[in-house]
């Protein structure tokens, strides 16, 4: 069996697949990627299945070696990638051979990056998934973030071509769309207007569980405690500080703050990738409109994922654009 060795690890490097489904009613967070499309592309670029496990990193990747040849791809955003000091591009696959050192530096204008390796990471699944949930210590490697010296089993690399995107991944632009509810009626008209006027600054209080936003104070007229109910990725909770907390991939399954709105699925990866200190505004859409957006985007991605371009094998150092 092939092995990936972590020589250096960025501050938040974890094993993630598409997440853990079917256990929310037992208190188990879905975990999974902060930026799902980036993970899907990383896997497809190396010929993996969509559900294969990758490494997700925040800000900085780390350095890695393998025992047997693999193809790899790094996605998420623009980032410096080198093999033994030679530059490689993100959003396309490359060869990594035993003895070579792959180094992934800092993401620019993005926060979450993905490293997919052909064969996928084969740590033992826990509750049907390999995703790490750090807070409850399950999945990935011993349920924790990775550190230098960690060795991860890799699946078998099938023969396959090096691939690239035909055109850069196009992300939605403009205000982040939100669907009102489920507890919008805990807030008055003024609070709702202030919420839509914004703008909000992405603060440094952010991790895989949640992102705290700073801006106009949003106050509920009947207090900020509700009888706890279920949460989804994108739920915007308003605690008594009046500062919105957007719940993300590693959120707890239930929460006791009123939720003024929910971020549309198409815009949640973009919010996750907003650098700290950037400004965001919200725009209200109906549930029906948000569903339309999601259906259209799923089709777009399916087409883009199915039409990756084969790179010429003999390009100099494999670093053709």
């Amino acid at each position: 069996m092939n092995t990936l060795e972590v020589l250096q690890a960025g501050p938040m490097l974890t094993v993630q697949d598409l997440g853990r489904a079917g256990f929310l009613h037992l208190g188990v967070s879905g975990a999974g990627p902060m930026d799902r499309p980036s993970m899907l592309f990383a896997n497809r670029l190396v010929g993996n299945e969509d559900g294969d496990a990758t490494l997700e990193f925040a800000h900085v990747g780390g350095s890695f070696t393998v025992e047997q040849p693999v193809r790899f791809a790094v996605t998420g955003g623009a980032v410096e990638i080198t093999i033994d000091g030679e530059r490689r591009h993100s959003w396309e696959s490359h060869h990594l051979r035993p003895g070579q050192v792959l180094k992934i530096g800092a993401l620019r204008q993005a926060v979450w990056g993905y490293l997919a390796l052909s064969g996928g990471i084969r740590t033992p699944p826990v509750l049907n998934a390999r995703s790490t949930h750090v807070r409850s210590g399950i999945g990935g490697l011993d349920g924790r973030r990775l550190a230098a010296g960690d060795r991860l089993p890799l699946g078998v690399t099938e023969a396959g071509a090096l691939l690239a995107l035909r055109r850069p991944l196009s992300r939605p632009t403009g205000p982040v769309r939100v669907v009102p509810g489920p507890q919008t009626d805990h807030f008055g008209d003024q609070a709702w207007k202030a919420f839509l006027d914004g703008p909000f600054r992405v603060t440094a209080s952010r991790d895989r569980m949640a992102q705290v936003l700073d801006g106009p104070q949003i106050l509920a007229f009947a207090g900020h405690d509700i009888v706890s109910d279920g949460t989804v990725a994108g739920s915007i909770q308003i605690p008594s500080s009046g500062r919105p907390i957007v719940l993300m991939a590693e959120r707890q399954t239930t929460g006791g703050y009123p939720k003024i709105a929910t971020v549309a699925s198409v815009d949640l990866p973009r919010l996750a990738q907003c650098p700290t200190a950037s400004l965001v505004r919200f725009h209200s859409v109906s549930q029906d409109e948000a569903e339309d957006l999601l259906i259209a985007q799923s089709q777009q991605w399916a087409e883009a994922l199915a039409s990756l371009e084969v790179k010429p094998e003999n390009s100099p150092s494999g670093s053709s654009i």
Binding site: L24, V28, L293
Partner: protein, 247 residues
């Protein structure tokens, strides 16, 4: 959009949670009848195996329904849920009760003495009160297998700590406001803790990783240190020590 006052919300109601989930709110109170309906609605949906429903999350007074909008749209699903709510929903699952052995006090039950003092009773009186009541698992949430229990005697209601503690062990028996709990994984908590159980509510290495589900009944039984050690050893060997009874 027009905002109504929270006080005037009519239940049941169905509210969107983005583009892939709806929440069916049956009430904004914690009571047993509401929670029974929530559990029954979750069962009714599971039995009907409606295509497009991905999973459901029963909580105290609401049911979160997660769906795939590429298969079923929220609007259609809302109508279907309203129809279902108009029917007589009752749980078909046999109610079951677990007796949870508790070693009160000790390192994990670090608040027992202070709580007894606060309530002006002896520790034995407090233990008797806590273990005489019947509890209901209102929901499993917050962490894997974490059980929120209703049925805590009013005399034991206690506000949470102003500053949460950094680490409370799994299997700690807690009190937070009107609720009781059995912890399932170690972690920070602002609740008060009065004992520990040798039972493990969550163990991913077990063939049945989760001990409890919403709707289960719980009774606590006081055990001494010797029995706790005996049960710990049995649990460590993977033996089943749970005492279930059908109700």
């Amino acid at each position: 959009m027009g905002m109504t006052q929270a006080a005037s919300i009519q239940f049941p109601r169905i509210a969107p949670c983005g583009d892939s989930a709806l929440v069916v709110e049956l009430s904004d109170e914690i009571d047993e009848a509401t929670n029974q309906r929530v559990v029954a609605l979750a069962e009714a949906l599971a039995q009907r195996a409606i295509s497009g429903i991905v999973e459901t999350v029963p909580t105290y007074r609401s049911l979160l329904v997660i769906y795939d909008p590429c298969v079923v749209r929220g609007r259609g699903l809302s109508a279907l849920l309203l129809d279902l709510l108009a029917q007589d929903l009752s749980s078909s699952t046999t109610a079951r009760q677990l007796t949870v052995p508790v070693h009160y006090g000790g390192e994990v039950g670090l608040d027992l003495d202070e709580l007894a003092e606060m309530k002006q009773m002896t520790r034995l009186e407090l233990i008797a009160l806590h273990s005489a009541a019947q509890y209901r698992v209102y929901m499993i949430g917050f962490a894997p297998g974490f059980a929120y229990l209703g049925g805590l005697p009013e005399q034991l209601h206690t506000p949470r700590l102003a500053v949460p503690r950094q680490r409370i062990e799994a299997s700690a028996i807690g009190i937070g406001g009107k609720q009781a709990s059995i912890n399932s994984v170690p972690g920070p908590s602002g609740w008060r803790f009065i004992g520990r159980t040798p039972l493990k509510l969550f163990d991913p290495s077990r063939s049945e990783p989760f001990l409890l589900r919403a709707g289960d009944r719980i009774r606590f039984r006081s055990i001494n240190l010797e029995e706790a050690a005996h049960l710990d050893a049995a649990v460590a060997c993977g033996k089943t020590v749970e005492e279930w009874e059908a109700l």
